[in-house]
Symmetry: C2
Subunit: 202 residues, 2 copies
DNA sequence: TCGATATATATCATTCTGATATATGGGGGC
DNA sequence: GCCCCCATATATCAGAATGATATATATCGA
């Protein structure tokens, strides 16, 4: 799913400028499951304009720079609905923090605790913020992703709170498995995946 | 965190080829919170070799193509530990499925149910697979990320199972908020974030 | 008055993805 | 026996995205 489609999605909710679209991915309702930067949004809007999927109106503002407000056309809506009808690609989760915590034994104790507590605080903040959101009057899709995010963050937060002291206190180097063991593990998983897919999933 | 650092992390667990490193991100212990493709791994290994952070030994195999086995040097280990001491960047989660489900009202009912059930099945599969993992003898870091992943997936799965029927059955277009309302919402969130960060978090 | 922050658009080097190319060998189906 | 698919293994590349930077204006607090 490219940024053009993401922009069309945002514009299906109402007219917006590139700056506003970016805010939707930075702090808005999409922030927790998608992101896009200026460097991809502005070129995407140019392409959408060329293709006739959006229109552009320059609006002068007092006390602020001019704004280019984009609006979706019928062709754009069709394009968006076509994209929505495809099979979605797999989720992609990237966490530098979890990668670091994986290598806890290589880290200094103070730094490890610092990272752990900052990560916990972040999740606690997200949970509180999403809980505080008023979900009356929202579309079912918006309600669903809100609940989904809350449920996952709550699961993660509870785990981190429950396991903090034991994790930070447990001994370094206990139980060390080598590369061969990891690769064997993986082979077993591969077979499972193949079996599951052959069984009819996805 | 660039792919060079990710490769060093894998190599800190034992010697490996580019192909094997890729498997670690595709199906191995890192699969659920990081990914890297050949197109980034092979160039990264070349750069690490030039920098003296790894060594390379070509190994002939019977019945299989030759293998380039990479091993971390002392300089490489130092480099990796330096990278681990930095403040980790923010998590990045991207889900095309959640983006589509956000726009549930734009989707055909059959397709919506299909996407929902496939997504649920995927999470159920992950939960079962991680539960089945033998965690005895693993390092505390490995144990932690396993538990973390399980807790988040369980939270998401429970939510999807509990809300399926209500979500799919609820009426289209109920409660429609416009762009202005979304942007107002965001402004409130921004202030919260600033307050929280000023308060000492992270 | 100075610096920081917010609004707003735009560009670009670097990086990463996803696809493709190349080569070998094993296993299953017919 | 033959064909096709899959797994192993390395490498490259077009296209896309990131993160940083440049530019300009206005507000707010110190």
């Amino acid at each position: 799913m490219d940024v053009k489609t993401l922009c069309l999605g945002v514009l299906s909710l109402g007219d917006a400028s590139g700056y506003e679209i970016r805010k939707m991915f930075e702090e808005g309702p999409f922030a927790h499951f998608h992101q896009a930067s200026y460097g991809s949004i502005y070129p995407a809007l140019s392409k959408l304009l060329d293709a006739g999927h959006v229109t552009c109106t320059v609006k002068a503002q007092d006390g602020r720079p001019d704004k280019k407000v984009y609006a979706m056309t019928d062709a754009g809506l069709n394009q968006f609905r076509t994209a929505l009808f495809k099979i979605p690609g797999a989720d992609k989760f990237r966490s530098e923090t979890l990668f670091m915590l994986f290598f806890a034994d290589q880290l200094d104790d103070g730094h490890l605790a610092e990272i752990y507590d900052a990560y916990t605080a972040q999740y606690r903040f997200f949970v509180e913020k999403i809980r505080a959101l008023d979900n009356t009057g929202l579309s079912r899709g918006r309600k669903f992703v809100r609940g989904f995010g809350l449920a996952t963050y709550e699961g993660a937060l509870r785990y981190m709170e429950d396991n903090r002291d034991h994790f930070l206190a447990s001994a370094k180097g206990e139980g060390w498995r080598d590369m061969e063991a990891l690769l064997e593990c993986m082979e077993a998983e591969t077979q499972d995946i193949n079996k599951a897919l052959a069984g009819g999933d996805k």
